[in-house]
């Protein structure tokens, strides 16, 4: 029977096989492998069985280390078990991997190979993770494409059972894991045919069982450990042959023949590239192209990397080989070469020494690095490598794909070289994340792949912003299988679509267009008007490349058909109409079929709206008659202001406009250190509407500025005289602050940095008495305000910051006079986390060191191109770093230890140098009261004086003290992260750090899911909420992290929700920081993953508190010494049902729409739990800690 052709990505293809061949699956989310776990969890929730008829048990663990441990245990007790991971996740599994291999236990881990964090984290693909696991004793099997990834998943499973060697099956993160491609799907019969049941039985028979007890995991001594370690050699010796046998069996079944090493190219090749995974596909296609043209070149694909089968490798190489380039997608600094290179060198030398090598003379071998962190690897680069192999003097340890202008390792290549076949259509689409472009393109690929005879491929490039993000879709289709794991190149696209008109003024979208290509633009201007609105560069390119140019006002069609702002279906229909991949009628029929398939679960109304959009699109599609001459009056916008610092202008700005690829090595810092305060230069202009301040209504409460997630609303008080030079439209009013009589006050918005989230408007309490719908802050369209408000913003910034030593930041309005040192991040519009982070930066930013766990906050806080952490006019600001996901608490503690030690050392040195420094200064430095900003300022002045005096002293001690003198000024250590870190992966470390008693401040931004990786359940996920890995609704209650921390008795703990009581939030931050010991603040952070209207985020926070789901409290151990109860409840008795809060959120409501009974049962349980916990807190808060109210107990 013919197998099904499907158009899916490798994650789905691999999970499909792995799920069916296992019975226990332990998972933990990590990009880019999360998709596999999500598929497995969803299938298990839907009751889909494996090939033996039972539904696999999918268990989410607290970390990859935990997942590996659970896998190990499940294997030991006889289950067929798997997991999925990548990067740091794989590194956390390594200790268990040694054990699993040492115990000869069959299992397959499926790994989306991803960069291991070094100078920076990267979520993208290379082999640094799998290479770090190559020594564990596991077989390493590499796949080149989604088809191969599916096939190898089965081959690996069959082979591991037979060899007893555990398998790490890997394929390139994103490039393969996320590439959608047409493939032949294996049937369950195929899987049954490949898996030998007797081997499964043998695995079970080896399991630990009290019925036949054995013992594993002994501790061994020098007498026998070595011998025992060698005892398994035969299993590794036999493994390659067994694996090849399995591959042969697979070939008989499916017709797809794989070998441990596969050679392709000229049979008499003299120049050979050795490479593995997706890069091999590019190299092979290029070699075949060149060989057809007479070049003696070939490519050897390494499929089985470990155990490295030397004989098979040598046999696979042509005897004519004279030069070999070994390509590694990893870097091993300081090594004699990267791992695959070293293996190849060794294998060939061994072959030559033993006489088993096919060639008479030793080939020359060079190694090179390519494709780190998903850097493009193209046929042009492969060609350059072959050309290098033809040189007399080859460059060893080269790089390709970058411009290394420092150590000159890089090979030059001709970027215009292309092997694209004429029959393949290549299409590039620019869209906004929010307009649905990628989703529609994924559907288009499926339509082409599954409803026509064509092959199809889709790859999607996202940017690192969570708001206003740009997506670029690369689609290829044609009559032949598409083996091109690289994006469509400059000048290579037959079709370019730009779904947002504004992109034209900042991005060169048409560079992808080939001569004569089609250009489709979403334009509010009709065909006869659009030309005059195009920048000069765009007009010129259209004329020079002779593009066929079409426009459609997709937003108008979307509005008319009930699609809101979603233009995906409309643009998709236009694409099919123009590209001619299908006859129009058939295309429309297929689009509608897929709309039905995609949206029918969401209801008929959505399906019908999409149908209407399809039907009305073509009537609005217009071809533009392209003029012969360029007539533009304006050019593309400069990416950055000329006032920006040099590094921003020369380096970062290139990344703003998607030209970071072209930056040379010399442009990069050598150690990953970047300047802060650079987000201010990236004016993204993504808000359609921005807030406008109405001074006549404003009560100067500061609440708008407080909740602004992007720090685009600011308040200042200043001398009236400063208004002399104010722009005409600059607004001000008399300040109403007792500390600042006679001063002026302004609330100012940065129009180009605002995301238009509405939180400020929602939170504004000042309403017009005659028109309560009008507030002191209202939204208005951005474009007409942009220029005037830009000038006003610049003037506002020029006004002096309020001197923080002149007032106490103990009220919201006062706190908002402090300059935010966290601004314009790439967080989601309306983010619930960033207002807390910003508040922290205002209160303590100028003396903070921040340890940030990996997650949303590390991405919006530290993802290039820009950094939102900022500096004040003195150049001070938060110093920030991200270590890992799992170690953040410890990382922060380390910072505290340094500061404490340096402070201690500095004090010792001050004392030792007291004779030279003068007693007054010494006394001042050592006894300074730094509990207020004024006190800190005084200490900073003393330290400045100290430094001046030290410079005059010429002694070792003076020099030492100079280096650590800043530690005499109070520093605030903040440990930031989300609930995935604090409740799960980092909990052990967090617990230890809290227990340490050290003065660190922990801020948990609790969104109740792993937000950054797409909403997987954590232990913070509440009962009844649906999340990934809890698809049927979480049955168990949220972990009470605060209560656990309180149990120490000496940890300051606060639970806050700005939307319910902002003053309590402020108080908690101030108290936590002031507390001389560990502090923990757990902050309710509404999140896009809750499925809420983000502008109502604060309202939801309020409801969470009112329902009893998020009781506010502060637990201050200092109060115990005063005989007071340390726990103070800051919210009232629950006053609304939990359901009233919960059913405002899609994460809860979806369960009602799928399993009402379970939803009701879980909601009852959530309600009971909320009440029970509230009662517990109430009773705890009522306990007596002393006598007569305020005296300590005796």
């Amino acid at each position: 029977m013919a197998r099904k052709m499907v158009t899916i990505d490798a994650n789905e293809a691999v999970a499909y096989v792995a799920y069916r061949l296992n019975e226990v699956i332990a998972i933990y989310p990590i990009t880019p492998s999360s998709g596999m776990g999500e598929f497995a969890d969803a299938w298990a929730a839907a009751g889909i069985p494996n090939i033996w008829g039972t539904v696999p048990l999918v268990a989410e663990m607290q970390s990859e280390g935990g997942a590996a441990g659970a896998v190990h245990g499940a294997l030991q007790t006889g289950s067929l078990t798997t997991t999925f991971t990548a990067s740091q996740g794989l590194l956390l599994m390594i200790p268990n991997m040694y054990k699993i291999a040492g115990e000869l236990t069959p299992t397959v881990f499926h790994v989306t190979a991803r960069t291991v964090a070094t100078h920076a984290l990267s979520i993208f693909g290379d082999h640094s993770d799998v290479m770090a696991a190559r020594q564990t004793g596991w077989a390493l099997l590499a796949s080149r494409s989604p088809q191969e990834a599916q096939d190898m998943a089965l081959i690996a499973q069959a082979a591991t059972l037979e060899t007893r060697v555990p398998f790490l099956h890997f394929f390139d993160g994103f490039r393969t894991s996320h590439e959608v491609n047409k493939l032949e799907q294996l049937s369950e019969d195929d899987m049954r045919a490949m898996i030998d049941l007797s081997l499964v039985e043998a695995h079970r028979a080896r399991a630990l069982s009290p019925e036949r007890p054995v013992l594993r995991g002994t501790a061994q001594n020098p007498d026998v450990f070595f011998q025992a370690r060698e005892a398994s050699n035969t299993y590794y010796d036999r493994a390659p042959a067994i694996i090849q046998k399995v591959m042969d069996r697979f070939a008989e079944l499916t017709g797809r023949q794989y070998h441990l090493f596969d050679y392709a190219g000229a049979p008499d090749a003299e120049r050979v590239v050795v490479v593995m995974a997706s890069g091999a596909e590019t190299a092979e296609e290029t070699a075949l192209y060149l060989a057809e043209r007479g070049e003696k070149v070939g490519v050897l694909t390494v499929r089985l990397y470990r155990p490295f089968a030397v004989d098979a490798f040598l046999k696979a190489l042509p005897a004519t080989t004279k030069a070999i380039a070994v390509l590694d997608r990893t870097k091993e600094p300081g090594a004699t070469g990267e791992p695959l290179y070293q293996d190849v060198v060794t294998a060939i030398n061994e072959g030559l020494a033993s006489g088993t090598a096919p060639f008479a003379a030793a080939p020359r071998i060079i190694g090179g690095r390519y494709g780190l962190s998903s850097k493009e690897f193209t046929p042009a680069m492969v060609k350059a490598i072959f050309e290098e192999l033809a040189r007399d003097k080859m460059r060893n340890h080269f790089t390709v794909g970058i411009n290394d202008d420092v150590t000159f390792t890089s090979l030059e290549y001709d970027p215009t070289f292309s092997i694209a076949s004429e029959g393949t259509k290549r299409c590039v689409f620019f869209g906004l994340g929010s307009d649905g472009t990628v989703g529609a393109n994924k559907n288009s690929i499926k339509i082409i792949g599954e409803e026509t005879d064509n092959y199809a491929q889709g790859y999607f490039v996202y940017d690192s912003k969570k708001s206003g993000s740009v997506t670029i879709s690369h689609l290829r289709f044609g009559p032949h299988p598409i083996r091109a794991p690289y994006t469509i190149g400059v000048g290579d696209a037959n079709f370019v679509a730009c779904h947002q008109f504004s992109f034209l003024e900042r991005i060169d979208v048409l560079k992808y267009a080939a001569p004569g290509a089609v250009f489709l633009l979403n334009s509010i201007y009709p065909a006869d008007e659009v030309w005059q609105h195009l920048p000069e560069e765009v007009q010129r390119t259209i004329i020079e490349k002779k593009l066929r140019f079409y426009v459609i006002d997709a937003y108008e069609v979307a509005k008319a058909t009930g699609m809101g702002g979603r233009i995906n279906t409309i643009m998709q229909t236009c694409f099919f109409a123009i590209s001619g991949v299908l006859p129009r009628e058939e295309a429309i029929e297929q689009i509608k079929k897929y709309i039905q398939k995609t949206y029918s679960k969401r209801g008929e109304a959505v399906v019908q709206a999409n149908f209407r959009a399809v039907d009305q699109s073509l009537a609005h599609l217009q071809q533009v008659q392209v003029p012969a001459e360029v007539s533009a009056t304006f050019r593309r916008r400069e990416p950055v202001s000329d006032k920006a610092p040099e590094f921003v202008r020369d380096v970062l700005s290139r990344m703003f406009i998607y030209e970071g690829e072209d930056l040379p090595v010399s442009a990069m810092p050598v150690d990953g250190t970047f300047p802060t305060a650079t987000a201010q230069w990236e004016k993204r202009n993504i808000a359609l509407e921005i807030p406008v301040w109405e001074p006549d209504l404003c009560i100067q409460c500061g609440k708008c500025a407080l909740v602004c997630p992007h720090a685009v609303i600011r308040t200042k008080v200043y001398e009236p005289a400063l208004l002399e030079n104010a722009p005409e439209t600059f607004k001000s009013m008399d300040a109403k602050f007792k500390e600042f009589p006679g001063m002026k006050y302004t609330v100012q918005v940065s129009p180009e940095d605002c995301t238009g989230c509405y939180l400020c408007v929602e939170n504004c309490p000042a309403k017009d008495k005659t028109q309560p719908g009008r507030k002191a802050i209202n939204m208005a369209p951005q474009p007409p305000l942009r220029e005037t408000e830009k000038v006003n913003w610049e003037f506002f910034l020029s006004l002096p910051e309020v001197d923080r030593t002149t007032f106490q930041p103990t009220t919201i309005k006062n706190s908002q006079l402090l300059q935010p040192l966290f601004e314009f991040s790439g967080a989601c519009a309306g983010c619930g986390e960033t207002p807390y982070v910003k508040l922290l930066s205002q209160l303590f930013g100028d003396r903070s060191v921040i340890a940030n766990a990996t997650g949303c906050s590390s991405i919006y806080g530290g993802n290039l191109p820009t950094t939102p952490w900022a500096v004040n006019h003195e150049g001070r600001g938060p110093a920030w770093s991200n270590s890992l996901f799992e170690d953040n608490a410890e990382f922060g503690l380390g910072m505290r230890l340094t500061l404490d030690k340096q402070n201690e050392y500095a004090r010792e040195l001050v004392k030792a140098l007291s004779a030279d420094l003068g007693s007054e200064l010494v006394e001042g430095l050592l006894t300074a009261d730094q509990s207020t900003d004024a006190g800190i300022k005084a200490q900073r002045d003393r330290v400045a004086a100290l430094k001046t005096r030290l410079q005059a002293l010429n002694s070792d001690k003076a020099r030492q003290l100079l280096a650590v003198a800043d530690a005499l000024v109070k520093k605030s250590v903040w440990i930031l992260g989300g609930d995935g870190w604090a409740y799960d992966i980092g909990y052990g470390g967090l617990d230890h750090v809290l227990a340490s008693g050290r003065n660190v401040n922990v801020l948990v931004l609790d969104t109740e899911v792993y937000s950054n990786t797409g909403g997987q359940a954590s232990k913070a996920t509440p009962t009844a909420a649906v999340a990934k890995f809890a698809a049927k609704g979480k049955a168990l209650p949220k972990k009470d992290l605060g209560l656990i921390a309180m149990s120490y008795g000496y940890v300051y703990v606060a639970r806050v929700a700005m939307g319910y009581n902002d003053q309590q939030t402020l108080k908690a931050f101030l108290e936590a920081e002031a507390y001389d010991g560990p502090s923990l603040i757990i902050a309710y952070s509404h999140c896009i993953a809750h499925g809420i209207d983000m502008k109502k985020g604060l309202e939801q926070q309020k409801k969470a508190v009112q329902s009893g789901m998020w009781t506010l409290y502060r637990y201050n151990p200092d109060l115990i010494d005063e005989g007071k109860n340390p726990l103070q409840l800051d919210s009232r008795d629950p006053s609304i049902p939990v359901s009233e809060y919960a059913y405002n959120e899609t994460r809860y409501r979806m369960l009602m729409q799928s399993d009402e009974e379970r939803a009701e049962e879980l909601m009852r349980s959530a309600s009971a739990d909320a009440l029970q916990r509230y009662n517990l807190y109430r009773q705890m808060a009522a306990m007596s800690y002393g006598r007569d109210g305020d005296k300590p107990a005796e």
Partner: protein, 334 residues
């Protein structure tokens, strides 16, 4: 012992007390309790066409919001197994209720416009509903929309639904029509087997502290009985349709009044929500006691006894304002 049985929409009922649409008629366990407490039929909670349409767009928006924008999170929400926006859950519930209780189950359909959704009525019949109550319940605020248009739309809507089903069809409507008798007659002509008087409208309130509009739905009281009572009494005997009185039945006397005015059944929700499901027993017991005291043998004997047609002073139902009248004076007919 008096005979409490009655018929409504051609369905024989053991007594004239029906539980109207509310959260109590949503779940199997509470419907069972209602049956045990003696109610003779239940009207299920309403399937809101508008809500389904709204939810459809809403869920679609939130599922797509933030999706396919960011490499690490191509989607933030997962669709649980069995997830579907549409009438399916409601239809399943009809089946479950029918299985769980012996009393008739009346499905309730609430729609605001003509369209494909009237198909839901057919699905309700297929799912086993004994009858359908079509709830005409929405606000018209467009000054360009005439009362004629609005009424015609209602009539057309009833005809559309009628065309979909063969089971009895009742229409529940509000009291605010210029000529209610005219509309009622047209609705019956269009296919309504019964009229349910009246809907209680959601009336938003104003929060004068926050200067905002707040949702508010208050339970009825006995005072709310008067309006439907009057119209039931007026309609009784003049329409080829059964009447149900809904709103304001809290005491046995209220139920007696409803039946005496001409209602085949009295529908109650607020009393049960306020006093608990067992309050149905109190109402039925009170009805029976009253019938015993006043020697009524059957509910049939009572029905319409105090309708406009049958009372001594028919004009009392038509007076718009309080008038001091002499009991002995009868206006000469012109």
């Amino acid at each position: 012992m008096p005979d409490l049985s009655t018929t409504y929409l051609g369905i024989s009922l053991k007594n004239p007390l029906v539980a109207s649409a509310s959260p109590l008629t949503r779940r199997v366990d509470t419907v069972r309790q209602l049956e045990d407490a003696g109610v003779s039929a239940v009207v299920m909670h309403s399937l809101f066409e508008e809500q389904i349409r709204y939810e459809s767009h809403e869920v679609d928006f939130f599922l797509e919001h933030g999706a396919e924008s960011y490499a690490e999170a191509q989607r933030y929400l997962v669709e649980p197994p069995g997830f579907r926006i549409g009438p399916e859950e409601y239809l399943k519930q009809i089946g479950k209720l029918k299985e769980a209780v012996d009393i008739p189950v009346i499905a309730s359909l609430n729609g605001s416009s003509r369209g494909g959704w009237v198909d839901y009525a057919k699905k309700m019949q297929q799912a086993g509903a004994d009858a359908i109550e079509l709830n005409l319940y929405y606000m018209h605020v467009d000054p360009l929309e005439t009362s004629q248009q609005i009424e015609q739309d209602y009539v057309d809507l009833v005809a559309d639904v009628r065309a979909q089903v063969t089971i009895p069809l009742a229409v529940k409507l509000g009291p605010f029509f210029t000529s209610l008798p005219n509309l009622a007659a047209r609705l019956v002509k269009a296919g309504a087997d019964g009229l349910v008087l009246f809907n209680r409208f959601y009336q938003p309130d104003l929060d004068i502290e926050t200067l905002s509009v707040v949702p508010n739905l208050e339970l009825s009281t006995s005072a709310d009985l008067r309006l439907p009572l009057r119209w039931v009494a007026i309609f009784y005997g003049r329409l080829e349709a059964d009447l149900a009185l809904s709103s304001g039945i809290h005491t046995p006397a209220d139920l007696v009044k409803a039946v005496m005015a001409g209602a085949k059944v009295g529908m109650t929700t607020s009393a049960l929500l306020r006093n608990g499901i067992d309050h149905a027993r109190v109402l039925l017991q009170g009805l029976e006691e009253w019938m015993g005291t006043y020697e009524y043998e059957s509910v049939a004997q009572m029905t319409g006894a105090m309708s406009q047609r049958n009372v001594e002073d028919p004009a009392a139902f038509e007076r718009a304002n309080y008038m001091r009248t002499l009991a002995s004076f009868e206006h000469p007919r012109i």
